[in-house]
């Protein structure tokens, strides 16, 4: 994939009020969705004492760190430090952010300031993400050109993960029947096993 954007999760896996860990190459991220549905991708580290923000909690439009409750707004800026309630935190205290975008039911992330858009995948929507215990480049080679799985038209996106694993995000064509989606689920599991055993897909 020559785009600057990396698929890190499916939109349906980050419900409003959820925060999950994700990865962009070797960087740890927190991807979270506010109560009104706004998606964000930040460095997975609270500026206070380094606690992972992916363990934090979402309230309304804010993400708070689980350790001491430091609260951050959509722009990554600290809005409240509960131990010192009288302090209006300065703009300087903020969490570094990534560019984030949702399309085709996939959450895409790029370095902050990215101006392009992710690859367009009209007619497809995110269906399932699985972690594969195999190298990303090998998996990408194995699934290249494979547009059909379990009786459905699919697009498969491969995301490198730290430690040599990879994420496989499977998008399915709109209009695929429920019965076929069941077959697709099974086929994805079988594909994952084959990829992990090093057998060509």
């Amino acid at each position: 994939m020559s785009s600057n954007w990396t698929p890190v999760a499916l939109s349906q896996d980050v419900l409003p009020g959820m925060a999950i860990p994700a990865h962009l190459q070797d960087q740890d991220l927190v991807v979270w969705r506010s109560a009104t549905g706004r998606i964000a991708a930040w460095h997975d580290r609270c500026p206070h004492r380094g606690m992972r923000l992916s363990h934090g909690f979402v309230r309304g439009e804010f993400l708070s760190c689980i350790y001491h409750g430091w609260r951050y707004g959509e722009d990554g800026q600290c809005r409240k430090i509960p131990a010192h309630p009288e302090l209006a935190p300065p703009a300087a205290i903020k969490v570094p952010r990534f560019a984030v975008c949702e399309s085709a039911g996939v959450v895409w992330v790029a370095p902050e300031g990215e101006t392009s858009e992710p690859v367009d995948l009209p007619g497809f929507r995110g269906f399932r993400s699985v972690a594969v215990n195999a190298a990303a480049d090998q998996v990408a080679r194995d699934v290249a050109g494979q547009g059909h799985l379990g009786g459905c038209d699919v697009v498969m996106l491969v995301q490198p993960l730290p430690g040599g694993d990879c994420g496989l995000h499977v998008l399915v064509a709109d209009g695929c029947a429920d019965a076929q989606l069941d077959a697709l689920s099974h086929a994805i599991e079988a594909l994952r096993r084959r990829l992990e055993q090093g057998v060509a897909a």
């Binding site: 004492r49 350790y67 509960p82 131990a83």
Partner: protein, 279 residues
């Protein structure tokens, strides 16, 4: 620099938990073996060489170096009427120094120990006092106050609990807290941390409480619950080693005791489990 950390006593087992079969474990990265001799007394060896042993607070303590004295004292532990609670150990994938620093922190009570040691909106941490007592070479915090909905099993309803904290050794910490059934006395809760490697440790909580109502099991479970909540924090802090240069961190006045602990570690060169340059 971290050699000086060897000249201290560290907990390596519960005296009551030892059996004839040996317990193989680590201390400051070195393999040690803890067992009982024929007379039933604990022995600790490293590569076959016998190490000094002391039994105190129900735990077996040993050292890889030459400590200046015996294991530190907690006079309150000898008061009649106290329940002495051995909790056993919990292994944690974190720096032994981080385990201690977390034990010294109160601003996390409403968020990590919600509705047990603290709750929103009572989150403010008022100014408290901290000193490094040079005569005993220990870090102390006094006049620490926090409002708690259920501060101890013996508490009824919410109270403002007063605390004192004490660091008598690089990986040990003692906290003294207001004791509801005995105003004027302090409940004593300790965390004795066995440093296995720079990023793993075994934590041995121990308590000396005035509590005539709770069963031993209830007291143990309460402390275990609290610690398991802390463990999920400890295993997810970055960087893994405790930074002695704050680097990108932003300590506030509520973190005064943690800063004093890090300064004390820095002054003594206690760097096993610490990161020296900025993260």
């Amino acid at each position: 620099m971290s050699v000086t950390m060897q000249d201290h006593w560290y907990p390596v087992a519960l005296a009551s938990g030892l059996r004839r079969s040996a317990r193989d474990t680590l201390l400051l990265g070195r393999a040690i073996r803890v067992a009982l001799d024929d007379g039933g007394a604990p022995v600790v060896t490293a590569e076959g060489r016998a190490l000094p042993v002391q039994v105190k607070f129900g735990h077996v303590w040993t050292t890889l170096g030459v400590p200046a004295g015996d294991v530190f004292d907690i006079p309150e532990a000898d008061q009649p009427g106290r329940r002495l609670v051995e909790v056993g150990s919990v292994k944690v994938r974190c720096s032994p120094l981080r385990a201690v620093e977390n034990f010294l922190d109160i601003a996390h009570f409403p968020f990590v120990h919600t509705d047990v040691l603290g709750s929103e909106p009572h989150t403010e941490v008022e100014r408290y006092e901290v000193e490094i007592r040079d005569d005993v070479d220990e870090v102390w915090a006094t006049k620490v106050k926090f409002f708690q909905p259920q501060a101890a099993r013996s508490a009824q309803g919410g109270i403002t609990t007063e605390y004192m904290y004490r660091v008598p050794g690089p990986t040990c910490s003692v906290l003294y807290k207001t004791c509801p059934p005995r105003p004027g006395e302090w409940d004593v809760i300790t965390l004795f941390v066995q440093p296995l490697t720079e990023t793993t440790c075994e934590v041995w909580p121990w308590m000396a409480l005035f509590d005539d109502d709770s069963t031993m099991t209830e007291m143990i479970h309460f402390q275990q619950l609290i610690f398991l909540q802390d463990r999920s924090i400890l295993e997810n802090q970055l960087p893994a080693l405790l930074p002695l240069d704050p680097g990108r961190e932003i300590p506030t006045r509520a973190d005064m005791l943690s800063i004093a602990y890090r300064r004390w570690l820095k002054r003594h060169g206690y760097t096993f489990g610490a990161q020296l340059v900025a993260a």
